[in-house]
């Protein structure tokens, strides 16, 4: 168990800079998720921590010790790859015990550790099989087993669930989380899936174009996104965002007045803003902003409505079932406490 600290990390591939001075401190035992669209540098950051990529500038410390110049094998980390990277010519048992074998541990100690990890992951019956004889989910568990057996200071996960089907992904998600709660090993987890990030993380670092856009607990990011990027990246379905202007304590947009609560009063009158409101905060009301239903998507517990206000499509999430149909007119009454305002030019939260 250990803390991890990135300080002013930069990375360039040739002349192309991909990371622009990332600083991030991960506490001992924390589950940190790096999330962002592909190409944002999250995997590169993880691979630098693993020692698989050189560090162009800055330093990385594990447990207070700078590891920039250390080989992967001396960093005391374990990594789970997207492709699992199991050794195809070794059985599950050999795969899991490989790192210990390289360390020339005693045979019975290896046996013991592998058996213990196999028990945690329910891999007991598969120990003598080869990776090709396992399903995707089982392979994923072997990859995790290989990491557990080493009892490393830090677990690294690089999009470990991307190759699994949707149902299995949900199951493995909770397995990984349960595993972390049991072992309490510091974990850095990279994903492009914001749902994974929200459900698993202690804290999330949202990354974009080589920078951390926002760092915080999942619900913090959800409730108070620091900028437009985070607002639109976190949450599913995504937040509705449209242009408007501040006028008389509300926002005029799409030909209507949208209520908002301003953290700093005054000085905003007439400012161009982006008005953001999450679909579940746009519940239909008996009066308010008129909208026309375009599509109704019942999902059982809730119903998703695509509505039009003026020419702009918005998504509305209502609890329970809806009797409305396409073409019906409804009224939206957004709660000012849940409205998000961003500066139109900088995209920063107001």
């Amino acid at each position: 168990m250990a803390s991890v600290s990135f300080s002013q990390i930069q990375k360039s591939f040739g002349k192309t800079p991909v990371l622009h001075g990332i600083s991030l401190d991960i506490a001992d035992g924390e589950f940190m998720v790096l999330v962002g669209p592909s190409g944002c540098g999250k995997s590169t950051l993880l691979r630098m921590l693993a020692g698989l990529e050189d560090i162009t500038a800055g330093s990385i410390a594990i447990d207070g010790r700078v590891v920039n110049e250390l080989d992967s094998k001396d960093r005391d980390i374990a990594m789970v790859f997207q492709s699992y990277a199991l050794y195809p010519h070794m059985t599950v048992r050999e795969n899991m015990g490989f790192s210990l074998r390289l360390r020339e541990e005693k045979r019975n100690l290896i046996e013991e550790r592998v058996a213990a990890a196999a028990k945690i992951l329910n891999l007991g019956p598969y120990l003598d099989r080869y990776p090709r004889e396992l399903s995707g989910g089982q392979r994923q568990r072997v990859a995790m087993g290989r990491a557990i057996v080493r009892d490393p200071k830090v677990f690294l996960f690089d999009e470990p669930l991307s190759n699994l089907d949707a149902k299995l992904r949900v199951a493995m998600r909770s397995e990984i989380k349960a595993l972390h709660q049991r072992l309490k090993t510091t974990t850095v987890y990279v994903t492009h899936d914001q749902v994974e990030a929200m459900t698993m993380a202690d804290r999330i670092a949202v990354m974009n174009e080589g920078r951390i856009e926002q760092l915080g607990r999942p619900l913090e990011l959800y409730d108070r996104p620091a900028n437009l990027f985070v607002a639109q990246f976190i949450g599913s379905p995504a937040m509705n965002v449209f242009d408007g202007a501040v006028k008389g304590g509300a926002v005029e947009a799409l030909g209507a007045r949208w209520p908002a609560s301003f953290s700093k009063s005054g000085g905003l009158e007439g400012q161009r803003v982006k008005y953001g409101v999450r679909p579940e905060h746009l519940e239909p009301a008996s009066s308010g902003i008129a909208a026309e239903i375009v599509v109704v998507e019942p999902m059982g517990a809730e119903t998703e409505l695509v509505v039009k206000v003026g020419d702009t499509s918005l998504i509305v999430m209502t609890r329970g079932r809806s009797t409305a149909g396409p073409g019906d007119r409804i009224f939206l009454a957004p709660d000012p406490a849940h409205a998000h305002l961003f500066d139109a030019a900088s995209g920063l939260r107001i």
């Binding site: 698989l52 374990a78 790859f81 490989f98």
Partner: protein
Amino acid sequence: MTSRKLLSEAKLWLVAIPVLLWTLIPIYHIFLFSISTKDSAFSGRLWPKQPTLHNFVTVFNQDHFYLHHFWSQIWNSLWIAVATGVITLAIATCAAFAISRLKVRGGRTVMNAALFTYFIPAAFLAVPMYKAMGTYGLLNSRWSLVLAMVTIASPYAIWVLKQASDKLPWELDEAARIDGATPAQLFRLVYLPLMVPSLVAIFTYALLLAWNEYLYAFLLLSHENTIPLAVGLGHFLSSDDSPWELLMATALIYGLPPAAIYYAFRRYMVGGLTSGAVKS
């Protein structure tokens, strides 16, 4: 079977039968000579009147002027072929690993330089090679032929193994590095086991190349006790009255090991030699 299928099948046979005959008739000819007596060898019959295995007995007993060193010559052939296979494999495997997996600086240049040697026909290199072996005092030693064959086989071997190496997932190396493997352990415990099919193919390729070699063997080795059987067979033609039936019997024996090796490793040959040729 529909007529269309029948037609396409017929076209295939139309190609296959001539090719088969083209290959088999000379072999049958060898076989025919080897079971004929000296007098009937040139009778022009498709099957000898009195087929005999006597020629083989003569060969195995070294019972003819040209056959006095048969066993030592076939031993030479085997020794040279196996040594060439082993050394080529060792060189090519290490080179492919270094170039493909360790990404050694300048690796590509080395490989391209090696392949460039194929622009010069091997026959042109024979004389310089002879000179070089002479300088090192290796003429008339089996090692001279082994070294020459390794030189000729290595570039292709490196290229094939490099292509095969490139297809191994890169994450395996990374996983092994994180697991604590040194490059040597990575080579031994992860790389080699996964490369076995390609290694078998390349070993066989180098082995057969050396086994079938004539020109270099003829040039570099001249003593009756050091020459391989291929050159020994050539000596049969040095008189006006060559014992054709014995020559063909020996040739048949000489041709069997390659056939056996091909048969044993046919699964690897096709897969191994073409691996990396196309994206699978």
